[in-house]
Subunit: 285 residues, 2 copies
């Protein structure tokens, strides 16, 4: 297991940690300012949300590379299924393609897929997972052609209804085996999987399908399941054990801190948040 106690060059910032994923939140920093702050603090990478990028993907990607920062990823495709997916289907597919293009423009290695919830009019997860498989099979060659990898992210089962019919790492492994395309893998986020007693076995099974590892913590008394994530060390997830299993599976890439926290961290000065991320990354992650 890697020793981060004196080295946080494997740390990446997901800008959601500064509230930049949602309108009306966030410090309002430009992508360039975020890149400069991360580079100055010695982070290794940054992950943006599409709303921050607009039509400036190439110029922002170039700025990151000039500072030595890796644009590790982009959040995210549209929801593919469920009540929040763009309608009609062609609008969803067009938006999926636009997200691939943006990732390619940024030079981001990975585009995250949050698959979407249960298809209206259906029951259970099976039908929706079938739809996800069909759509990703269709889009994977396009991503591969643009040198972008697609990371299916299993979300916590609490989002099973509206945001993600993909709710466990086991289901993500099953889905990857069905899709069977080298451009398609998995993002592992401790917030979504910390409770899963099958995690170590499924991480081993995932192996080099693991395209990203996301850090935060699960607060024992979570007040809001969307926007009350904890800073590493403040919750009950066994972060060291999870990372050990992730690395034992072969993953040696960046660790991306991604904390949605409307009532706490988003209200603090960004510099304080970033410094706390570094300190907690070195000590408890």
């Amino acid at each position: 297991m890697r020793d981060f106690s004196h080295d946080h060059s494997a740390l990446a910032l997901n800008t959601a940690t500064l509230g930049h994923n949602i309108d009306g939140h966030g410090a309002g920093w430009t992508p360039e300012r975020i890149i400069d702050a991360c580079a100055e603090l010695g982070l290794g990478g940054v992950v943006f949300w599409r709303r921050e990028i607009g039509k400036r993907a190439i110029e922002i990607g170039d700025h990151a590379r000039k500072t030595g920062l890796n644009v590790a990823g982009l959040c995210r495709t549209p929801f593919l299924t469920g009540p929040l997916a763009p309608k009609p289907e062609q609008a969803m597919l067009d938006d999926f393609e636009a997200s691939i293009d943006m990732a390619a423009g940024l030079g981001a290695e990975v585009l995250t897929i949050v698959v979407g919830g249960v298809e209206p009019g259906t029951k259970g997860l099976g039908h929706s997972l079938d739809r996800v498989a069909e759509i990703v099979v269709r889009m994977a060659p396009l991503a591969a052609a643009r040198k972008v990898k697609l990371a299916l992210e299993p979300l916590h089962p609490v989002y099973g209804g509206d945001r993600s019919c993909l709710v466990t790492l086991k289901d993500a492994n099953d889905l990857c085996e069905r899709i069977n395309h080298p451009a398609v893998g998995i993002a592992v986020d401790v917030y979504h999987v910390w409770w899963d007693r099958s995690l170590a076995a499924e991480l081993k099974r995932a192996g080099n399908r693991i395209l990203g590892y996301h850090l935060c913590d699960w607060l024992a008394e979570t007040r809001d399941v969307l926007l009350d994530r904890g800073m590493m060390g403040d919750g009950v997830a066994d972060l060291k054990a999870i990372r050990q299993a992730v690395e034992a599976a072969g993953y040696q890439g960046l660790c991306e801190v991604e904390i949605f926290s409307a009532q706490d961290w988003w209200k603090r000065p960004p510099q304080e948040v970033l410094k706390t991320c570094v300190e907690r990354f070195r000590t408890v992650s």
Copy 2:
């Protein structure tokens, strides 16, 4: 699979469906009034919460039996672990024993255990599950002597931090195998398990350990994870498929409707709620 379309004698009411599990909510009906209403509507059973019973367990149990209604269960033991468990340990054990005595007094066949969350100062679920096993092993003989069965209820992983370190049916099966006592089994609640793709296999494994089956629905856009459960048919859980698997595992007992719904069903007249439960039980459950 049993046909309920013309027969709802397998339906039981959990009084939480009328808001009776939480102070400040609920229709305020006495246990006797609830029993009479259920009997009149042709239900087969009722499940109470301890706060409704006080010192009148035997008299309430007798009233139910006079009307032909089965007191199918009692909710519940104290939390055994985590931030919400009574302290010190002896207070928790005393309260556990008091809950067994109350179930015996009512003549309730089953006492539900919601195990409690992650032990303060620990990370992950393992240590807390070890504690749960120790405590249940210690209390099971007492329950058996009072002719009460203990039903471990796996809760949705969203409660993993504070309310239940037991979050899947697989974990409940593993725990039962460790405890290995004939008075200890499992309660299966669709709200907590509907998303689990391993459900059918784990139900089969559970077999005659299944001591109860709880009905409600998971609303696609759940506004509150504690108090926004849906009426059967209004959500995305595949209720027919789950019941088919429960019955294939051997369970032929009562189906207990348990809907926590502060903003919707708890605001409606109890008679309307009960009649809707009957109608939905016959048609979509």
